[in-house]
C-alpha cells in the first residue's frame, strides 16, 4: 500500500501560520501534520471548529501556500505546480461561493471555462452534471432561488466540471436538513464508486463513519489519531457507553456517586458518559449505588467517544 503511484496526496510536516497585524509570531492554525491519501479512498479530517481543517484543505487545494513542510499532490509539488494540480482537483469550499449573478447552468459553464474547456464539451457536461446532482429542473433559474441543499449540490456539480481525480469537500453537509444530507451522501457514494478520491472534513460523526474509509482526528492544528473509523473506535473506546442525565440540582452529588463505576467517565454540560464493556451491568451498578438518573441510555461507542477520549471535549460544543 505504500506504492508511491497510489499515493495522491502526501503531506509531511505541513504547517500553516497566519500573519496577524501587531502579532509578529503569527497564529499557527496547522502545526506540522503528516498524512497520505491513496487513490480511490474516501479520507476524512475530523475536528471541532478551529481545529485547522479548512486551513489544511486550502493548502491542498493550492489556494493557500503552506508556511512549512512538504506537500505533494498527484506527484507535483504544491508550491511550484499549483495550477497543474488545481486543473485536476475539484473543490467544494466550506462556504458556498456560487456566482450569484449567474444562473445555475451558467455557473457550470463559466467555471469550466476557467479550466480552459471548450463550450461544446461544457454544454454536454453541464447537462450531465445537473442530472447527476438532481438540478436539471433548475438549470435556467437564478441561484438565489435555490435551497441550501441545492446550492451545495450545485457547488459539487461545479467541482466536477473538470472531471477531477480528487474532490475536496470542506464540511459538505453542515447546515443541511437530514433529507438534503442523505441525498448528498448518496451522491458522494456514487462518486466513490466511480473511482474518484474523496477528501472531506466534517464535525459530524455519522458522516465520518458512513463515508470515510480512513480518517485523521485533528485538534488545535495537530493530528491526534489516524485510522479506519472502526479501528479508532476499537482502539480508543470500550465497547459501550452508558449515558445518564440528572435533574440540575442533583448533578454534582450523583456524578460523585458514579465515580469508580466505569473505566472512564466524561462529564458533559448536559450528561454524564460512562465507558464500559457492558452497559447494562454498569447501569445495574449505578442503581445499586442509589443513583437515580432522569434518563439512562446504553449505546455502542462511536467516533464521538473517540474524539472525547482524545481531546476531552465534545465535537459539537
Amino acid at each position: 500500500m505504500t506504492d508511491s503511484s497510489t499515493v495522491l496526496i502526501d503531506a509531511q510536516g505541513l504547517r500553516k501560520v497566519y500573519g496577524r497585524p501587531g502579532d509578529k509570531a503569527g497564529f499557527t492554525a496547522v502545526d506540522g501534520i503528516d498524512f497520505q491519501v491513496r487513490r480511490g479512498e474516501a479520507f476524512g479530517v475530523l475536528g471541532a471548529n478551529g481545529a485547522g481543517k479548512s486551513s489544511t484543505m486550502r493548502m491542498i487545494a493550492c489556494v493557500s501556500p503552506p508556511t512549512a513542510g512538504s506537500l505533494r499532490i498527484l506527484g507535483y509539488d504544491s508550491g511550484a505546480d499549483g495550477a497543474k494540480i488545481r486543473a485536476r482537483l475539484g473543490v467544494v469550499p466550506q462556504d458556498d461561493t456560487i456566482d450569484t449573478e449567474l444562473t445555475v447552468r451558467e455557473n457550470l459553464l463559466i467555471y469550466g471555462r476557467y479550466f480552459g474547456l471548450s463550450w461544446k464539451v461544457l454544454r454536454e457536461r453541464s447537462t450531465r452534471l445537473l442530472e447527476f446532482t438532481r438540478l436539471s429542473e433548475k438549470a435556467d433559474d437564478a441561484v438565489a432561488t435555490l435551497s441550501g441543499g441545492m446550492r451545495r449540490r450545485l457547488t459539487i456539480a461545479r467541482a466536477l466540471i473538470n472531471e477531477p481525480e480528487i474532490v475536496l469537500l470542506d464540511e459538505p453537509t453542515t447546515g443541511l436538513d437530514p433529507q438534503a444530507r442523505h441525498l448528498l451522501w448518496e451522491r458522494l457514494f456514487q462518486l466513490k464508486q466511480d473511482g474518484v478520491t474523496l477528501l472531506l472534513t466534517t464535525h459530524y460523526m455519522d458522516e465520518a463513519e458512513q463515508i470515510c474509509d480512513r480518517l485523521v482526528v485533528m485538534d488545535a492544528g495537530k493530528i491526534v489519531a489516524e485510522g479506519a473509523p472502526a479501528e479508532l473506535i476499537a482502539r480508543y473506546t470500550l465497547r459501550e457507553v452508558l449515558e445518564l442525565r440528572f435533574a440540575p440540582g442533583e448533578r454534582q452529588i450523583m456524578t460523585d456517586k458514579c465515580r469508580g463505576l466505569a473505566e472512564r467517565m466524561e462529564e458533559l454540560p448536559d450528561r454524564l458518559l460512562l465507558s464500559t464493556d457492558n452497559g447494562e451491568e454498569t447501569l445495574s451498578a449505578v442503581h445499586r449505588q442509589g443513583v437515580q438518573p432522569l434518563t439512562a441510555l446504553v449505546r455502542r461507542s462511536s467516533l464521538e467517544d473517540v474524539f472525547l477520549t482524545l481531546t476531552g471535549r465534545s465535537l459539537l460544543d
Binding site: G40, V63, A87, R88, T97, D99, Y111, R113, L117, G195
Partner: protein, 267 residues
C-alpha cells in the same frame, strides 16, 4: 452519470485559465443586466445637455485654444474622458470590492487553474471593453450633433481605451487598500474635485499658476487633453506626454496591484 475517469482527464486536455475568461464571465452577466451599461452611456450625455448646451448659450466660444471652439465642443471630450475614467474605476473598485468581500467570487475562481494575475488582467480587460462601448456610442451621438470631426475623431476610441486602462489599474490598486464600504467616500473625495478641476468645464488659463500646476499633475487632466486633442484635431506634440503619462501610470499601478492582490487572495 457515466463513469468518472480515474486516470488523467481523458479527451480534452486542460489548459490553464486565461484572462479573457473573466471577460466572458462579465459578458454572461451583462446579458442579464445590460441596462446598467445604458445608464453609463446616458450619464455623460445628460451632462453635455445640461452644461454644454445650457452654459454654452451663455458663454459663446472658449478663449485660448487657437481656433474658435464652442462651449459644447469644449465640454464634450472632457465628459467622454470622464466617462471612460468612471466606467473603469467603478469596475475595478466598486464592483471588484463586492466580489472580493461579500460574494467571494474570486475565491472560487482561484480554485481553478486561473492565476491571480489572470483574474486581475481579465477585470482590467473587461473595464476596457466597457469603456470602448461607452466611448463609441458617445462619439457617434456627438458626431451626429456636429461636435466632433470624423474621421479624425476616431482617435478618441484608442484614447478612451488608454484612459480606461490607466484608471482600471489605479482602481485595482486602490481596491487592495480598502478596509470597508465607508472607504468609498474617500475615493469620492478625490474623484469629484478632480472631475471639477481637470479642465472639464474651464480651460486651464482661468486658474492662477499655483492651481495650474496642481491641475497638470492630475491623471484626468491628461486624459481630457488627450481626448480633446482627438476631438478638435489640435494638440500638436502634447498628446505624446499624455500617452506616456497614462501608460506608465497604468503599468506601474497594475504591477503593484497584482502583487498586493496575491497576498489578499491567497492567504
Amino acid at each position: 452519470m457515466t463513469a468518472m475517469p480515474t486516470g488523467a482527464p481523458a479527451g480534452n486536455p486542460v489548459r490553464p485559465g486565461r484572462a479573457w475568461t473573466m471577460v466572458e464571465r462579465n459578458l454572461m452577466i451583462y446579458r442579464h443586466t445590460w441596462p446598467v451599461l445604458l445608464a453609463e452611456i446616458f450619464e455623460p450625455m445628460l451632462y453635455l445637455l445640461a452644461f454644454g448646451v445650457g452654459v454654452g448659450l451663455l458663454v459663446g466660444d472658449v478663449p485660448g485654444l487657437g481656433a474658435s471652439v464652442s462651449y459644447p465642443q469644449f465640454v464634450a471630450p472632457a465628459l467622454l474622458a470622464t466617462a471612460a475614467m468612471n466606467g473603469a474605476m467603478n469596475e475595478t473598485t466598486f464592483n471588484m470590492y463586492g466580489k472580493l468581500t461579500t460574494d467571494k467570487t474570486y475565491e472560487s475562481i482561484l480554485t481553478t487553474p486561473m492565476s491571480v494575475r489572470s483574474v486581475a488582467l481579465g477585470e482590467v480587460f473587461w473595464a476596457l471593453v466597457r469603456g470602448a462601448i461607452v466611448a463609441t456610442v458617445f462619439l457617434v451621438v456627438v458626431s451626429i450633433f456636429g461636435l466632433a470631426e470624423l474621421p479624425g475623431a476616431l482617435l478618441v476610441i484608442p484614447s478612451a481605451l488608454l484612459i480606461g486602462f490607466a484608471f482600471a489599474a489605479m482602481g485595482l490598486l486602490t481596491v487592495t487598500f480598502l478596509r470597508s464600504w465607508q472607504d468609498f467616500q474617500l475615493i469620492q473625495l478625490v474623484m469629484l474635485p478632480m472631475f471639477l478641476f481637470a479642465t472639464t468645464f474651464f480651460p486651464l488659463s482661468v486658474y492662477p499658476r499655483a492651481v495650474q500646476v496642481f491641475v497638470e499633475v492630475l491623471p484626468l487632466y491628461h486624459s481630457v487633453e488627450l481626448v480633446r486633442a482627438a476631438f478638435l484635431g489640435t494638440g500638436g506634440g502634447y498628446p505624446a506626454i499624455a500617452v506616456i503619462y497614462l501608460a506608465v501610470l497604468g503599468v506601474v499601478a497594475l504591477a503593484i496591484a497584482v502583487r498586493r492582490l496575491e497576498d489578499t487572495l491567497r492567504p
